[in-house]
């Protein structure tokens, strides 16, 4: 077992900045400190208005009164799209020691009702844009206590004392088994995740963040909103993603948190239209929630932007690791953040620490835990410098007749490094003699092929794929390669649906 210390992160920023990064116990403690230190600074820009820390605090004090009749630990559902109203409601609920149950706004009314029942919600806060949905929920359960996110009482209510061990939020995740579950995170876990977002780059405080990720996702809530508040930064809320590039041009963010597909898309648009779509002020992209293609790091570096991949889970209050040296080690998800205990057990990454979930709510039995460790389901290795590499998912492991285990993702990574490979899938198949072999299918990147101007693109691709194949250890070499003319089947979240045995 290993535990990461904060010391290792010191060299990535200056001494003054590093000394300001300190652990906090609760959202209530953080918010009190933010209001004291950053009172007049702009914390949120939304819908044409700006909100300073002190203005938000005045409104949070009044909005808490909506929940003054509840007891500490009670649960309040938030059904609010990305907006200032979300920020106000979230702070009001959590600084009173209540637990915010954050629902994705696209849930249908029956699912909203189901969540209210399952989690024993005492109140539900909604934005008026959700009125139709709420009317349908109320038709099923007329006595559900609902509160409008826009209605702020005149009377103020003080924050409560909230301890690190007190529950803070319930977030949704597909979990390590793919089944949707509610993850309960304590205040200490949320704050560790928040502080983790400050490590590994130079300019940490007083940034301009643009929010495009949903706040119902842990990457949006903790790394984007919470770290932005913690660092006295200004968070611009992009209400409609189709306006993202206009918002960027107007707001000029210095830092963004995004998924790799968006980073790739912005890069392609920049090339097409001959200008930096993410703006000239952008210095840092925190990239995660899916594997980051290593080429993105170099491509953004050429534009003067540090793209920093990381690894995290909803169960770990977002960030477990971040890569401060992504240019040198572009295929790593980085170094473990402080207070993260970890071990690799039979190739699987196990985690423990302040940032980890308390439990899956309402799941009586769960095989994700063993001896206090959370089993991530991810296959990983750590190099001699302490850099973490995710090499696949445990449930995807192929056991060959020889007894050797092959992680398809690890083999695919070799082929994905070829520029013309858009996506690939390694799977178990049989040859003509009925022997078990490894097979590979790839989806080519047509735009790259077009540029290469080969007379016989298929022959060229086969030659290059064969060259890569011959570099692999004998037991995991591919016995059959197919170049697909259409995409793989994909899940609703756009992940490749893997072939079943």
């Amino acid at each position: 077992m290993k535990t990461q210390s904060a010391k290792i992160w010191e060299k990535y920023t200056d001494a003054v900045t590093f000394s300001k990064i300190r652990d906090m116990d609760s959202v209530a403690q953080m918010w009190e400190s933010c209001v004291k230190e950053y009172a007049d600074r702009i914390a949120v820009s939304d819908n044409g208005e700006t909100y300073s820390f002190s203005r938000i605090d005045e409104e949070v004090k009044r909005y808490r009164t909506q929940f003054a009749d509840l007891d500490k630990g009670d649960r309040v559902v938030l059904l609010i799209p990305n907006s200032y109203e979300f920020v106000r409601a979230f702070l009001a609920v959590t600084t009173l020691g209540l637990t915010a149950v954050i629902l994705p706004v696209q849930l249908d009314p029956k699912a909203v009702f189901g969540c209210c029942m399952k989690f024993g919600a005492k109140k539900l806060v909604y934005q008026k844009s959700m009125q139709d949905k709420i009317d349908q929920v109320l038709a099923i359960k007329p006595d559900l206590c609902v509160v409008k996110a826009e209605e702020i009482p005149e009377e103020e209510t003080d924050a409560a004392f909230v301890a690190g061990t007190d529950p803070c939020v319930i977030m949704f995740t597909g979990g390590t088994t793919g089944k949707s579950k509610g993850v309960l995170l304590s205040n200490a876990a949320v704050m560790q995740g928040t502080v983790n977002g400050c490590y590994g780059y130079k300019d940490v405080f007083f940034q301009r963040y643009l929010l495009i990720l949903p706040l119902s996702h842990v990457f949006g809530l903790i790394r984007n909103l919470m770290t932005s508040l913690y660092t006295g930064s200004d968070l611009f809320i992009c209400r409609d993603n189709k306006d993202m590039f206009r918002d960027i041009a107007a707001f000029k963010p210095t830092a963004m948190v995004m998924v790799p597909a968006l980073a790739e898309m912005a890069l392609n648009l920049s090339a097409k239209f001959g200008r930096n779509m993410l703006g000239d002020d952008l210095k840092t992209i925190i990239c995660g929630a899916a594997p980051v293609a290593p080429y993105l790091v170099g491509a953004y570096h050429e534009k003067g932007i540090a793209l920093l991949p990381g690894y995290g889970l909803t169960e770990s209050a977002n960030l477990v690791s971040g890569n401060p040296e992504s240019l040198r080690l572009s295929d790593s998800v980085g170094l473990m953040f402080p207070n993260q205990e970890y071990r690799i057990e039979d190739g699987e990454l196990w985690l423990k620490g302040r940032n980890m979930l308390d439990c899956y709510v309402g799941e009586e039995e769960n095989d994700s835990f063993e001896d206090g460790w959370f089993k991530t389901g991810d296959l990983a290795r750590v190099d001699e410098e302490g850099y973490l590499y995710i090499t696949g998912r445990i449930k995807e492991i192929i056991v060959l007749p020889s007894g050797e285990n092959v992680s398809p993702a690890e083999v695919e990574a070799y082929f994905n490094a070829l520029e013309f490979v858009q996506d690939s899938q390694v799977f178990e198949d049989q040859n003509d003699r009925g022997e078990t072999i490894l097979a590979l299918e790839i989806v080519p990147r047509q735009t790259v092929l077009a540029k290469l101007q080969k007379d016989d693109p298929a022959a060229y691709m086969m030659e290059k794929l064969g060259e890569v194949n011959r570099t692999l250890p004998a037991y995991c070499q591919i016995g059959k390669i197919v170049i697909r003319d259409q995409d793989f089947e994909r899940s609703p979240s756009m992940k490749i649906v893997r072939y079943k045995k």
Binding site: N241, K242, L269, K272, T447, Q486, M494
Partner: protein
């Protein structure tokens, strides 16, 4: 701009948006569903929106991307927009 011209420009944008489904885009019709037939993800939709705005010199206003189900829906919208532009 003629409807056919709009459609062809759109197909070019769709090809650039996500070239994994190049064959489907090549063979698509105005009835093709942007998400299920042409495989556009939410990020792909964003790419398409921006490319359309730049290419056609229009701006998507008071509409949500969920309002566009098929390629024909986008062609309709752009036909109206480019007509509006001419009459101003």
């Amino acid at each position: 701009m003629k409807r056919e011209e709009i459609r062809e420009k759109l197909k070019q944008i769709l090809f650039e948006t996500d070239d994994r489904n190049a064959d489907q885009v090549r063979d698509c019709s105005e009835d093709s569903d942007l998400r299920t037939d042409l495989g556009l993800s939410s990020v792909g939709m964003l790419y398409m929106v921006f490319s359309i705005e730049e290419t056609f010199g229009v701006r998507f206003e008071n509409v949500s991307m969920n309002d566009f189900k098929t390629l024909g829906d986008v062609v309709d919208y752009l036909e109206n927009k480019t007509e509006e532009g001419k009459s101003k």
